[in-house]
Amino acid sequence: MTRLTSKVCVVGDFAVGKTSVVERFVSNHFSAKYLSTVGVKIDTKEIEQSALGVTHKLVVWDVAGSDRFGDKEFAYLRGASGYIFVADGTRALTIESVKTIQSQIGDKYGDAPSVLLLNKRDLTAEWEVNDERFESLQASFNGAFKTSAKTGDEVEDAFKRLAQLIVENELRGK
C-alpha cells in the first residue's frame, strides 16, 4: 500500500458544526455544547483506500469560523490538498458564506478538491434548504452531503469522498 499524507482544511461560517463533524470523523464522538474555535485545531486520521491501494493519513485543520477570510486565515490554508466546506442547513445564509470563502480560496490558491457538508440534518423542523437548492449546490462542489455530526449521518462518507478526490488528483500528478 502506498502511504500518502494530505492536509485538509475544514472551513465555513461560525457555529455551523465544523469542530463537531471533525470530532465525529476523528473520534466518532459528539458534544452538543457549543465551544467557539480560536485559531485552528489540528487532528489526524488514517483511512484505507483499498481500491486505490493507498493508506491515507489526513491532517485535518479545523479553522475558526468566518464568513470571509483574511491574511491570518489564508496562512492556515497554505499547502492544503483539499477542502471541506461546512454550512448549516438550518441557517441558509451560511451557504452564502461558504460560497464567498470558496471564491476567495479559488482566487488565492487555485482549484483543489472540495466537498460541501450541509450539516445539522437531524434538525428537520428547522431545515431551510429544499431539494432543488441542494441539487444546485452539488453541481458547485465535487460532492455535497446532508450531514449530521450528532447522528454521524454521511460525515465519514464526505471525508472519504474528499480523500478519494485528493488521491485521484495526486495520481494525475497535479
Binding site: F14, V38, V59, G79
Partner: protein, 518 residues
C-alpha cells in the same frame, strides 16, 4: 533609539517566562538538525536528530520551509496551544513554538461571547421571519373566515327565503284541507258537497306529499344518501304511462302532445325506472304547465348504450340569463309562474347526474324550450313474469282470498284505524300493538301471516324489532310503513319498505301478494 539594557533584559525575561519558547532547526526534508528550549509543555517529546518532524508535529505537513510564516493559536494533536513561527535560514528552517494558552483562553472567552450573541441574533431574525409568516397566515385565515362567514350568511338568508317560500307553499294546501274538512263536517253540507270536499282534500294532500318528497329528495341528494334502484323494466310502458298521464292534461289546455320513440330504443333497459319517471314527469309537467298554445313533445333515441330523451315545448321559453339559473336550487325562471317548491328541475338535474347522465337546455324566448337528457342504460331482456306481475295495476282483486292475519305495530291511532279499516274490509284478521316490545311478544305468540311495522314507535324501534323477530325465528314477511328515512342497510331488515303516506291500494296489493306468496 535603543531601549536601555536593563529594560531589554526585563522584557526578554518576562517574554521567555510567559511563552516558554521551544526552537527546532529543520533541514529541507523536515528532519531535525537541532533543538533548543523546554519542549515538555508542547507535547513534542522524543525529538531525535534526523527524525521527520511532520510525524511528531503534523501541522508542518504541506507547509513550505522557504518563507517566513506565522500561525496564531494552533491547537496541536497533543492539545497544546501554540503560536508557530517558521524562519528560513540558508536552506534550513527554524521552527519556533510559543506557549499561547493564556492568550487563547482570553480570546476564546471573547469570541465565544461574540459568536453566541450573533447566533442569538440569527435566531431572533428567524423567529421574527416566522412571526411575520404566521401573521401573514393569520391574516389569510381571517380573510378566508370572513369569506366563509359571508357565505354562511348568504346561505342562511337563502334558507330563510326558502323556508318563507315553503311555508307559503305548505299553508295553501293545508288551508284547503282544514277548510274543506270543516265544511265536510258541517251538518248542513249535502252529500254531493261532502264528496267534492273529500276530493279537494285528497288533491291537496297529494300536493303536500309531492312537496315533502321533493324536499326529502333534495336533502338526500345533498347528503349523498339517495341511492338508485336499478332493475330491468319495460321502457315503452314508461312512455305509454307518461303519454297517458300528460296527454289529457295537454288536451285540457288545447295543446298537441306527441311521443316519438325511435325503433332503435330497446324494449327493456336496466336503470332506475322510478327516478327516470320522476325526471320525465317533471320535465313534461313543466312543459305542459307553461305552454299556452302549440305542442309538447317527448322523443327518445338510443345509440351506443346511451338513451337520449328530449322534451320540447312551444311555450314562452327561457332567457339566456335565466337558463344559467334555471337549474339552481330554489331558483325559477322569471317568465315562469311562481308555484311549486322550485326544486323540480334541480332534483331532475341531480338525479340525471346520479345516473351518470347529462341534462342540457336549448331555448329562445318566445320559441319554447328543449330539454335533453342523455343517460347510459344497458339494453336488457324482457322482465320476468314475477316482475310483470309486480308491476300489474292493483284492482278489485286486492281483496284477500282467504282468512289471514296481519299484526300492525304503530302508535298513531288514526293510522292504525285507517289500515285496520282497509285490511278488515279485505278480509284480514288483525292484531294491533303500539310499541315494539309488545309487538314482538304478540308476533311470536299469535304468529301472524305478515307484520306491518312503523319504525319510529316506542320500544326498541321498528328496525331493531324486525331484526329481533328474524333472530327469534319469525319467517313471515315484515313490511315497513314509516315516515322515517331509512338507509339501505336499515331497509334490508324488512321484506318491503313503504314510506308514509303510501297509496293504500298499492299497500294492500303488496300485502296480499306477500301473504299469498307464503
Amino acid at each position: 533609539m535603543e531601549l536601555p539594557v536593563p529594560v531589554v533584559d526585563y522584557l526578554q525575561s518576562n517574554f521567555l517566562e510567559e511563552t516558554r519558547p521551544f526552537c527546532l532547526l529543520l533541514d529541507s526534508d523536515y528532519r531535525v538538525v537541532d533543538s533548543w528550549g523546554d519542549n515538555s509543555w508542547c507535547g513534542l517529546t522524543g525529538i531525535e536528530p534526523g527524525s521527520d518532524m511532520r510525524e511528531t508535529a503534523p501541522f508542518l505537513v504541506g507547509l513550505p520551509l522557504t518563507a517566513v510564516q506565522r500561525f496564531e493559536f494552533i491547537e496541536t494533536v497533543g492539545r497544546a496551544i501554540v503560536h508557530a513561527h517558521l524562519v528560513p535560514d540558508r536552506g534550513s528552517c527554524y521552527v519556533v513554538l510559543l506557549d499561547a494558552r493564556l492568550a487563547h483562553a482570553a480570546q476564546q472567552a471573547k469570541q465565544q461571547s461574540v459568536n453566541e450573541h450573533r447566533l442569538l441574533h440569527a435566531r431572533q431574525r428567524k423567529f421574527i421571519a416566522r412571526q411575520r409568516e404566521l401573521i401573514s397566515d393569520l391574516i389569510e385565515t381571517r380573510s378566508q373566515l370572513e369569506h366563509h362567514r359571508q357565505d354562511a350568511e348568504r346561505s342562511s338568508a337563502e334558507k330563510s327565503r326558502f323556508i318563507a317560500s315553503m311555508s307559503h307553499e305548505f299553508r295553501t294546501p293545508l288551508a284547503s284541507i282544514i277548510n274543506y274538512a270543516e265544511l265536510a263536517a258541517a251538518a248542513d253540507t249535502s252529500a254531493n258537497d261532502v264528496q267534492k270536499c273529500v276530493e279537494t282534500i285528497s288533491r291537496s294532500a297529494r300536493h303536500l306529499t309531492s312537496l315533502v318528497e321533493a324536499l326529502l329528495d333534495d336533502a338526500r341528494l345533498d347528503a349523498g344518501q339517495l341511492e338508485l334502484y336499478e332493475h330491468d323494466f319495460d321502457l315503452y310502458k314508461v312512455f305509454d304511462d307518461l303519454a297517458g298521464m300528460m296527454a289529457p292534461l295537454a288536451a285540457e289546455k288545447g295543446l298537441a302532445f306527441a311521443t316519438m320513440v325511435d325503433p332503435e330504443v330497446p324494449d327493456v333497459v336496466y336503470a332506475d325506472e322510478m327516478r327516470l319517471r320522476q325526471v320525465l314527469i317533471n320535465l313534461l309537467g313543466n312543459a305542459v304547465k307553461f305552454t299556452l298554445e302549440g305542442s309538447v313533445e317527448i322523443a327518445a333515441t338510443y345509440s351506443a348504450g346511451r338513451l337520449q330523451i328530449t322534451v320540447a315545448d312551444t311555450g314562452p321559453g327561457i332567457s339566456a340569463v335565466d337558463q344559467e339559473r334555471v337549474f339552481g336550487a330554489f331558483e325559477r325562471g322569471s317568465a315562469r309562474e311562481k308555484t311549486g317548491a322550485g326544486l323540480g328541475l334541480t332534483i331532475s338535474l341531480r338525479l340525471v347526474k346520479l345516473m351518470n347522465g347529462e341534462v342540457s337546455l336549448e331555448s329562445v324566448p318566445g320559441e319554447g324550450c328543449r330539454f335533453c337528457i342523455v343517460i347510459p342504460v344497458a339494453a336488457s331482456v324482457a322482465p320476468s313474469a314475477l316482475d310483470t306481475d309486480m308491476l300489474a295495476a292493483p284492482g278489485a282483486d286486492a281483496m284477500a282470498q282467504k282468512p289471514l292475519s296481519v299484526l300492525i305495530c304503530d302508535d298513531d291511532r288514526d293510522m292504525v284505524a285507517l289500515i285496520e279499516h282497509y285490511l278488515h274490509r279485505s278480509g284480514y284478521g288483525l292484531i294491533t300493538s303500539s310499541d315494539t316490545t309488545e309487538a314482538i311478544e304478540k308476533t311470536l305468540k299469535y304468529k301472524p301471516d305478515l307484520v306491518l311495522m312503523d319504525c319510529n314507535v316506542p320500544g326498541i324501534g321498528g328496525v331493531a324489532a324486525a331484526r329481533q323477530l328474524r333472530e327469534e325465528g319469525f319467517r313471515e314477511p315484515i313490511v315497513a310503513l314509516t315516515a322515517s328515512n331509512l338507509d339501505a342497510e336499515e331497509q334490508s331488515a324488512f321484506t318491503r319498505f313503504f314510506r308514509k303516506p303510501a297509496p293504500m291500494q298499492e299497500l294492500l296489493t303488496e300485502i296480499k301478494h306477500l301473504t299469498h306468496e307464503t
